[in-house]
Symmetry: C2
Subunit: 402 residues, 2 copies
Amino acid sequence: MGDGLGGPRASATVTTGELLRLIRDGRATTRADLASLTGLARSTVGQRLDALIAGGLVYEAKKGPSTGGRPPTVLAFNESAGVVLAVDLGATHCRIAVADLNNATLAEVAGDLDIALGPEKVIERVMRRCHELLKLAGRVAADVRGVGLGVPGPVEFASGRPVSPPIMPGWDGVSIPELVRKQFDAPVLVDNDVNIMALGEWWAQLRDDPDILFIKVGTGIGCGIVAGGEIYRGSQGAAGDLGHIQVTDAVDALCRCGNVGCIEAVAGGAAIARQLRTLGYEANTSRDVVKLVRTGNTDAVRLVRTAGRQLGSVLASAVNFFNPSVIVMGGDIAHAHEQLLAGVREVVYQRSLPLATRHLRILRSGLGDRAGVTGAGVMVIERILSSTDVLGGMSGGMTETA
Amino acid sequence: MGDGLGGPRASATVTTGELLRLIRDGRATTRADLASLTGLARSTVGQRLDALIAGGLVYEAKKGPSTGGRPPTVLAFNESAGVVLAVDLGATHCRIAVADLNNATLAEVAGDLDIALGPEKVIERVMRRCHELLKLAGRVAADVRGVGLGVPGPVEFASGRPVSPPIMPGWDGVSIPELVRKQFDAPVLVDNDVNIMALGEWWAQLRDDPDILFIKVGTGIGCGIVAGGEIYRGSQGAAGDLGHIQVTDAVDALCRCGNVGCIEAVAGGAAIARQLRTLGYEANTSRDVVKLVRTGNTDAVRLVRTAGRQLGSVLASAVNFFNPSVIVMGGDIAHAHEQLLAGVREVVYQRSLPLATRHLRILRSGLGDRAGVTGAGVMVIERILSSTDVLGGMSGGMTETA
């Protein structure tokens, strides 16, 4: 104590990646812009810019018709200087995209893939698909600047290893980046699927709202948190584990986590399917629930509405605690019907504090199935561009020079 | 979409305040250090440093005995270049400190002050005490570089105005900074008291833990959140409002917020006092509860333990959601006895997910009554030093030059 305050730890260095982002975001179009925005010496700016141009990430575009003499030029970001691979692995399903450095999709594929096949087989199949997609997009493996990957379980983000994931047998502690880097020599980031979905939704439609929650109601219930425009992971990467918050002490609501009365065990897709079975319906998965709801079955509609209210009581607490400006609801069940959202809204607006709900919006996912790959792309692109070694993979390992 | 990714918005400029922080934190002791750490041109560093030295914030200290020629010097932060005022207003109590720019206390006073007297009278009395403390510390009003102030209610942080504060009659919408600036021409930051207590605890003992919760159990129950080393306020400044999370639907637990069954209405100090009255004890405030607990009264001890368990069920949800590495428990009741913490620990470790509690520590406040003024000081010092206009109040309104 006494020796230095600590406080917000802003980096005091301007990286080459930050110069690149100023150009990409249109905030700087000339060398003079870059020098005045950053305070860097003109010579430093020039040196780094030369490296970015040599690396193909920046080019000098003609500003307009030449009026004699040297034509005026502006600096522009070359979003085609590379591609990223975005992978969203679900329990039984997978979606893979190739995107440019502005996260525009160049090629994409979705299909069944059982996560229980284990890491070697799953990653091998995903990699094969990646190569096919690259070919389709007219790109090669050397163009890949980064890989972003979401998995349906908790992940130690720094190492990209799943941590005791309940529905991913064989994946515990496996280094996913190591498996991926056998195929692509580029940064690999792995995160929980709900986190990247939250980031995807934020990026696609909510960039003016720094603090949002994304709630996925599928077989289970998960939550991704964006705080200040970034994924919030908490101290062990476990943040957002909202599915195991207790809502009842009824003994019949036994949860796969070992506790009783978790919200997932009463309001998740599997729990609703179970309740439908006790009423004599044939319903085993959240998809079966969705089918019944879509046919207008009143038991299914009533159960989904009730699930919405129960989820609403948990979200009311989350709203009081986190004070987001938007809650985005995604996943099979949320997509099935407005009934779930109606139940959520009913209870959240009743139970949360007035100040916290004054401007709160509760929306259905805008991206649907594509939220995961969208967020995986954003995650890895931002990492690449903010790196001090943004040119690392681009031009033979160039590093920062002051 | 498509035009720029958004993403984490790092500022791309190195401010004079950042140079100052590098010197304060001991990361830079020479001009060459500053240039190489920031990438700024030597001439820019020199220009800004001259301004910092002229403004009295930095001085050149002798490194050791002269060996002939120009003696070697190192740059040092002058924590005595100014002072800050730190004010912690409670419902009936107030603590005020004068601190140097390293947040070391120079003079401090605590005493009774009824917030219900209204903003004009309360601020006037606080200001009078501030002048007395400054005199005691051998300082004058012109030395004051900033004022940090905590109040027992929700605050719109940007404007420093309380928003419908339930226990601050007459304060709704009042600009506290305006009242303070009648006396001191310096930045004034106002925040909820639990937020500054959280920041104070973090700064004093937990700077290696970026994500912590501070829980105050006094008359009511409040929560301050530190995420990534900064106060997290949420989109309306309402984050952390944990006291009004519902834990029961028993109708007798009517809360002052208008709902029933809020955790505050069953486990706060006022609620425990009410339960003690129904058992025939004379107990009106949380202080009365504390007195009974300290005498070893078994009813009081049992009720506090039960309150701890109920609070533990709410905190288990918060732990699943936010995944902090530390929960700090403060306020009258938490300080009274280990029983409250024991109850909290019992339920949190039982109900939260293994990954989230693997390294979770639940501690009693280290600062006690001083958490508020400590955090108020940190808050305002960090604001002053990170400002682009760090020299603003110091040397006649100098601003940044590139």
